[in-house]
Amino acid sequence: MMSLDPALLAKVAIAASMALVVLSVVTLLTASNAGKRLAGAAVVMLGAALAVSALRAPQIFVSAAVAVALAYAALGALILIRLQEAYGDTELPAIDAVDDDAEGSGRAP
């Protein structure tokens, strides 16, 4: 059976986790739906945890990354629910338009 070079495997793991982080950051910053942004936030933290692990940082960093990811996901989910309740929508361009209209007319929504 062919054995794989561990150094090459480590490099592939680092590259894959970095790619995951970059892709999820792009999703995080460009998605128009708040739910997709929240999913992006969870994935970017997961990618960071994988990258930290691949870079052989102390395991406590991986645990910290997972804990912070859970905190972001929980708080983000709460805000997402309140956004849906307050605006009846989670599409950010529509929410921005409602906010801009309210600000333009000088009244608090």
Partner: protein
């Protein structure tokens, strides 16, 4: 007995700076009376401020700071001065909260106060944490508490801003973790104080790691071009949240950047990368922040854009890489916090509309708030005899001292731009009459006006007689950056 307690508290000051606000937050959630909650919050921040100012007088000014040793938490150098600024800003924000909490419902008030205390605890923790993991966890605690605070109360638009904070915060946290992992892989160190003497085996990945950490903190400081979340939150959230985010959150993140830079710049093979990243971010912050402040139509947004421009000046001073540059950046941090409290606190205390036309004639309708805002605006533009002038002047001197004339030019350009937007603020306050004057809603106890007035007075007093402040800034910068190349 009391003496022994005080000595024990002094010996554990770094730990108490983190735990006191957290314990107070827990008590606030349990106590049923709003006024009692507020008193607990003020007492906790007053205790934190006393601890750090006492340590400043005993250790920093006497040059007796013994270093961190193996302790995970310690007050030293830039972190010490940053913690002092943050504790004082946190105290002012907490005192003003006595009136500003009116924006929240009765069930939300204890939660808002507790989250405000967690923000203060988090940023103070980042000032005393010795390793990268401690700094990361402290920053994230502060940030998540800030998101919760921004989403509470205020308009429903604040929820939109809070969602942007979640996006920016997650990207920033991932960058910090990646940066820390790359830095540890390249240098083999976890404690920041070991960076200057580290054997750097992989300079490129270490430099990328340092850059990622700085960019991550820039996003949390709301520095242009990573500041999309800040105006969205500041314009629509409650007065208490806006004051906490702008005067504790932004200043805290900038102070963490200063502290990290003070350890990274003396490190061989890293110094140049750090100064380049700081300078690039500083120039972008000054240019974009100033232009947006000039075009702002909402007074809170104007203040946070002005803060982004001032933050750019702080980074330009840090990017000089010299002890004089670090001292100037600390002075500018103090000036930014005081001016922010004077302007944003003045707006909150007067209860005026947030559109700029709501300021028309406010200097006559609310003379005390108007005077504090006037002093804050003068400090933002760097007018002589204010703390803002002192910080700018020192930064220009430091830039000229290392022959970076263009950096001095950028700081002067920031002042010229500030003269336009701060001048517009002053013109509205004193040289216009409102077509439809709104009634001023004073809080019955006038609590919110005290910290605003004190900050306004400090901006002037420290601008006129800065010797003590200069000694603190120089002592802090020499402890860490004294051997910088």
């Amino acid at each position: 007995m009391i003496g022994e307690v005080l000595e024990t508290a002094r010996a554990h000051a770094p730990l108490l700076l983190v735990t006191t606000p957290l314990l107070a937050a827990a008590f606030v959630l349990l106590a049923p009376i709003s006024r009692l909650n507020w008193a607990i919050g003020v007492a906790a921040m007053a205790w934190s401020a006393w601890l750090v100012l006492d340590a400043t007088a005993r250790l920093l000014l006497a040059g007796a700071s013994a270093g961190a040793g193996a302790s995970p938490l310690a007050l030293e150098g830039i972190g010490h001065a940053g913690a002092a600024v943050l504790a004082c800003a946190g105290l002012a924000v907490m005192v003003a909260a006595g009136a500003n909490l009116r924006d929240f419902g009765s069930r939300e008030r204890p939660l808002a106060l507790a989250l405000g205390l967690c923000v203060c605890s988090g940023w103070q923790g980042a000032m005393v944490a010795q390793d990268l993991l401690g700094v990361f966890l402290a920053c994230e605690t502060a940030w998540l508490a800030s998101v919760g605070l921004a989403a509470l109360g205020g308009e429903r638009g604040a929820l939109n801003g809070a969602m942007r904070m979640i996006s920016a915060g997650a990207a920033s946290a991932a960058m910090f973790l990646l940066g820390a992992a790359l830095l540890m892989r390249g240098t083999g160190v976890v404690r920041m104080s070991e960076l200057p003497l580290a054997q750097i085996e992989a300079p490129i990945s270490s430099a990328v790691g340092v850059a990622l950490i700085i960019v991550s903190l820039a996003a949390k400081a709301g520095l242009a071009p990573f500041h999309a979340w800040l105006p969205a939150v500041a314009g629509r959230t409650s007065a208490f949240a806006a004051l906490t985010l702008a005067c504790v959150g932004v200043v805290g993140a900038l102070a963490v950047m200063a502290r990290f830079a003070a350890y990274a710049i003396p490190a061989p093979a890293l110094g140049e990368s750090v100064t380049n990243v700081l300078t690039a971010l500083g120039v972008a912050g000054v240019a974009i922040g100033s232009l947006q402040a000039i075009g702002a139509a909402n007074v809170r947004r104007l203040a946070v854009y002005a803060g982004a421009a001032q933050g750019g000046c702080v980074l330009l001073a840090l990017g000089l890489g010299s002890p004089a540059g670090f001292a100037a950046s600390l002075l500018q941090l103090g000036a930014l916090a005081a001016a922010g409290i004077a302007v944003l606190g003045g707006v909150a205390a007067s209860g005026c509309k947030l559109n700029l036309d709501g300021l028309d004639g406010l200097g006559r309708r609310a003379p005390v708030s108007g005077a504090a805002m006037l002093v804050g605006a003068l400090s933002l533009m760097g007018a002589p005899l204010t703390l803002g002038f002192l910080g700018r002047w020192r930064a220009i001197e430091a830039a000229v001292g290392v022959d970076l004339w263009w950096s001095a030019g950028a700081i002067i350009a920031a002042s010229l731009a500030a003269a336009i937007y701060a001048g517009r603020l002053i013109e509205r306050l004193y040289f216009r009459r409102s077509a439809t004057p709104t009634p001023i809603q004073h809080d019955p106890w006038r609590i919110s006006i005290f910290p605003v007035l004190i900050c306004g007075a400090l901006v002037l007093a420290l601008g006129v007689e800065p010797s003590m402040l200069l000694r603190v800034a120089q002592a802090a910068s020499h402890q860490i950056a004294g051997d910088a190349p």
